[in-house]
């Protein structure tokens, strides 16, 4: 059974079955166990591609790596975005298959058009890769520097891929992307299903609404 399902079941069915006070009090420990089990199960088998050929996957991986690059923190590559997209195109994104089937060859053609002697996006330097992508991104100011006949299909391909890359980088890791919560580490989101105050810097030491109201009013009087 899919571990994320059992974890969710635990979350929801569990609490309606128990004394809610008891459940609230014991959740942190229970959740930690469920999460651990989920992660252990997940790391077992290496994923395989279902939609892309290995060659296509290499190209998609290279493109996503320019959309969210790897620097001193993980990028789309480390988050396994290409696996998320591959699975997505056989599940939630079936309607987008055509966009990828037509868009990728068009992008490779652009590579050859701009950089003679090169036929693959993945063979270019990062700077060259960015130049190719800017030429597809109509909203990018750099895209206007070189004039290309903009094919609606290609623009749609880049935009779709951009959105899929963001989704694969930032989705809850339980749902097939954001491997090892790499995207959440980058943006600073903790991988927990429940939180307790204080949440951030500014609510630490908050004295309660009544006390805060009085303190603020005193300060106002001083002025």
């Amino acid at each position: 059974m899919n571990e994320s399902v059992s974890r969710r079941r635990f979350l929801s069915r569990g609490v309606t079955g128990l004394s809610a006070v008891w459940a609230s009090a014991h959740w942190p420990a229970l959740l930690a166990a469920a999460t651990h089990a989920h992660q252990a199960a997940k790391s077992a088998a290496p994923p395989k591609f279902e939609f892309f050929t290995p060659e296509e996957a290499k190209e998609i991986d290279a493109i996503t790596s320019r959309i969210i690059p790897t620097d001193d923190t993980p990028g789309a590559h480390e988050a396994g975005v290409v696996y998320f997209i591959d699975r997505g195109l056989t599940t939630f994104g079936v309607d987008d298959q055509k966009t990828y089937r037509e868009g990728l060859p068009e992008l490779q053609a652009r590579v050859t058009e701009v950089f003679q002697g090169k036929s693959k996006f993945s063979e270019l330097t990062p700077e060259q890769q960015d130049e190719v992508l800017h030429s597809f991104d109509e909203e990018s100011p750099k895209g206007r520097q070189r004039r290309f006949r903009t094919s609606p299909g290609a623009q749609n391909f880049f935009e779709t891929l951009r959105q899929h890359t963001i989704a694969g980088f930032l989705i809850d890791p339980d749902y097939g992307g954001n491997h090892d919560a790499a995207g959440w580490k980058v943006i600073g989101r903790e991988r927990e299903h429940m939180f307790q105050p204080p949440f951030g810097y500014y609510d630490k030491g908050y004295p309660g609404w009544e006390v805060a109201a009085k303190a603020d009013m005193k300060e106002a009087e001083k002025k």
Binding site: I67, T165, I171, W184, M194, P197, G200, A220
Partner: protein
């Protein structure tokens, strides 16, 4: 998924609410709670059974009416177009929920058109979103739970006529509705602090539980507002700060807006009154039933509701009376779809006002970024609000209306990163991909908060939902056409509220801030006013009992009943109206007057 709703055998499951349970750990990889389910077999009626009431829609109004009418002894069938999901089906899956419309009306199956004025040609355009499941929008909403104030019911008398709008007083006052506001708050569970706002209308009882924890964004908002002499207070939310039987207190997971609550802490009608309705043994919740026509007889009375089941087979559920709670878009659409020789302009539409006076609420917002992490992605969306601008003097400000402000963070990670689109959280001009994009995400996600305003929409007759003459939905029915152009006063109010937001942010240590533009709307979340309540049969669709002026055994109750828009956050008022309507309808039924 438990959205069985197979109307052939009507064998759907109901949410479990067992009275005892044990925790069993089967093995290291699986933790399961085994619960003994003591829920009785769900009630089922045949379509040929003439039940007392068919209720169309199970949201903030329909769920309440189902519970109240079945508790009062009536036999009730609730027809819900969406599936019957429960906590076990709810996830944090942004792709399924936000991109694939798992919990909402579907733009491909239920396409809509939009135009600004009746003179324009409507174009295919996604114009609205609503919760499409048992519990309706009360399942996926943010759970802001403001009462309307006294002014909202009597604004016409107080400010006089407003050119270009048809502002009207309600046939009921705040005092009439107050006991029902209190009933909602106590019955479903609302967190808040009574007396914290000097602008609050009078209340007969405090909130049943304390406010939810303040967030960093709330603290920043509160301090800045007090510096300016304003009166911030803990946001009233329909989310439990303390557990209730069968429901957990909020676990601060942060996935409220657009998502269903996995722990039953959000006080949707699904998590509350619908379960109570089913327990009476007299109420059947029948999901996946898309009502397309209310049938009438030669005497001009309704005899039941015709619907498509999941397999698109049509059925007629017979009933002595029908209560439509399908929301401010689908309720008028259904009346217009139910036209007949006797009712050529649509059912209950002798006034010609069915679908008109659409109001959406509106208001600009601003994002702000701070030096240290707020982590406002944790916790409920809103922890602090203020109502200092709720009631403004039109003579002084030059427009009619008012609003409230809140500090919120309701952007899921993918939404936050979708800069350049409708709901992104990054500053304008941020590159949409690449190194700088990533750097902005990494810096801003934990350090941002949004100040959002919520304000009046004035009732304008040409703002409406109607049937599109060309476009059809996946069932072959005329699609919804939205016509909407904000009243000039609404835009002036927007500009006013934007200035107040920026003043408030100026009183903080924000390192960066930017506001959304004040502009005309073409998308609806709040669906209000389209079958307005009133005493005059020519200028309203229903009376104060929620009975249509034209059809004795047809009642309407949902956002469409509202005469004014309030200042945003209409859900509590919709549920309070439903409790009141249930009392009125029960009294009429017991006197044999339906």
């Amino acid at each position: 998924m438990r959205n069985s709703g197979d109307t052939e055998n009507l064998a759907h499951r109901t949410p479990a609410e067992p009275d005892s349970a044990i925790l069993s750990i089967r093995n290291d990889n699986d933790i399961v709670l085994a619960a003994r389910n003591t829920m009785p077999e769900p009630t089922r009626y045949k379509t040929t059974d003439e039940v007392d009431f068919v209720i169309i829609g199970s949201g903030a109004a329909g769920g309440v009416l189902a519970k109240e009418l079945s508790t009062n002894g009536f036999r009730v069938v609730v027809l819900e177009q969406g599936p019957y999901l429960t906590e076990a089906d709810f996830t944090h899956n942004e792709v399924e929920v936000l991109m694939r419309n798992q919990l909402t009306n579907h733009p491909k199956l239920q396409p809509t058109t939009f135009r600004k004025t009746p003179q324009d040609k409507a174009k295919h355009h996604r114009a609205l979103v609503y919760g499409r499941m048992v519990g309706g929008s009360s399942v996926h909403f943010t759970a802001n739970y403001w009462r309307f104030h006294e002014i909202d019911f009597i604004e016409r008398s107080k400010v006089g006529p407003v050119p270009g709008a048809n502002l009207a007083d309600w046939p009921i006052t705040y005092a009439d509705l107050e006991p029902y506001y209190t009933k909602v708050e106590w019955e479903i569970g609302v967190s808040g602090l009574a007396g914290a706002s000097p602008f609050d209308p009078p209340r007969s009882k405090p909130y049943p539980m304390p406010p939810l924890p303040v967030k960093s964004g709330g603290v920043i908002f509160e301090r800045a507002a007090r510096k300016l002499g304003l009166h911030p207070f803990p946001a009233p939310m329909a989310i439990l700060s303390q557990p209730r039987p069968g429901r957990s207190a909020c676990v601060q997971c942060g996935f409220c807006e657009s998502f269903g609550c996995e722990v039953g802490a959000k006080s949707s009608t699904l998590a509350t009154v619908i379960r109570m309705a089913e327990k009476t043994g007299r109420c059947e919740i029948r999901p996946n039933c898309y009502v397309h026509r209310i049938e009438t007889n030669a005497n001009g009375r309704v005899i039941g509701a015709a619907y498509f089941d999941k397999k698109r087979v049509t059925h007629l559920q017979r009933a002595k009376a029908v209560v439509v709670c399908a929301n401010g878009a689908e309720t008028p659409r259904l009346l217009l779809l139910s036209s007949s020789k006797q009712f050529p302009n649509g059912l209950a539409n002798s006034s010609g006002l069915v679908g008109k006076y659409l109001m959406l609420n509106s208001g600009p917002s601003a994002m702000a970024v701070f030096e240290h992490p707020l982590n406002d992605y944790k916790g409920v969306a809103v922890s602090r609000i203020l109502h200092d601008f709720y009631e403004l003097d039109p003579q002084k400000v030059g427009f009619c209306g008012g609003g409230g402000l809140d500090a919120r963070f309701d952007l899921t990670p993918i939404n936050f990163a979708s800069a350049g689109y409708d709901m992104g959280g990054l500053p304008p001009g941020t590159p949409r991909w690449g190194k700088e994009f990533k750097a902005a995400l990494a810096h801003n996600y934990t350090r941002s908060v949004e100040i959002v305003s919520h304000g009046t929409s004035l009732p304008v007759e040409s703002n409406s939902f109607s049937l599109d003459p060309v476009l059809k939905d996946a069932w072959g029915l005329p699609a919804l056409r939205m016509t909407y152009k904000d009243h000039p006063d609404d835009l002036k109010l927007g500009a006013f509220l934007k200035d107040r937001i920026m003043e408030l942010l100026d009183a903080t240590d924000a390192v960066q801030k930017w506001a959304s533009p004040v502009e005309e709307q073409d998308f609806a979340y709040h669906l209000l006013g389209t079958c307005r309540m009133g005493n005059d049969t020519k200028s309203s669709v229903i009376n104060a009992d929620h009975r249509t002026h034209d059809v004795k055994n047809l009642f309407l109750c949902d956002g469409s009943s509202l005469v004014t828009s309030g200042r945003g956050q209409p859900t509590l008022t919709i549920s309070a109206l439903a409790y009141r309507a249930a009392d009125r309808i029960t009294a009429l039924a017991r006197r044999g007057e339906i």
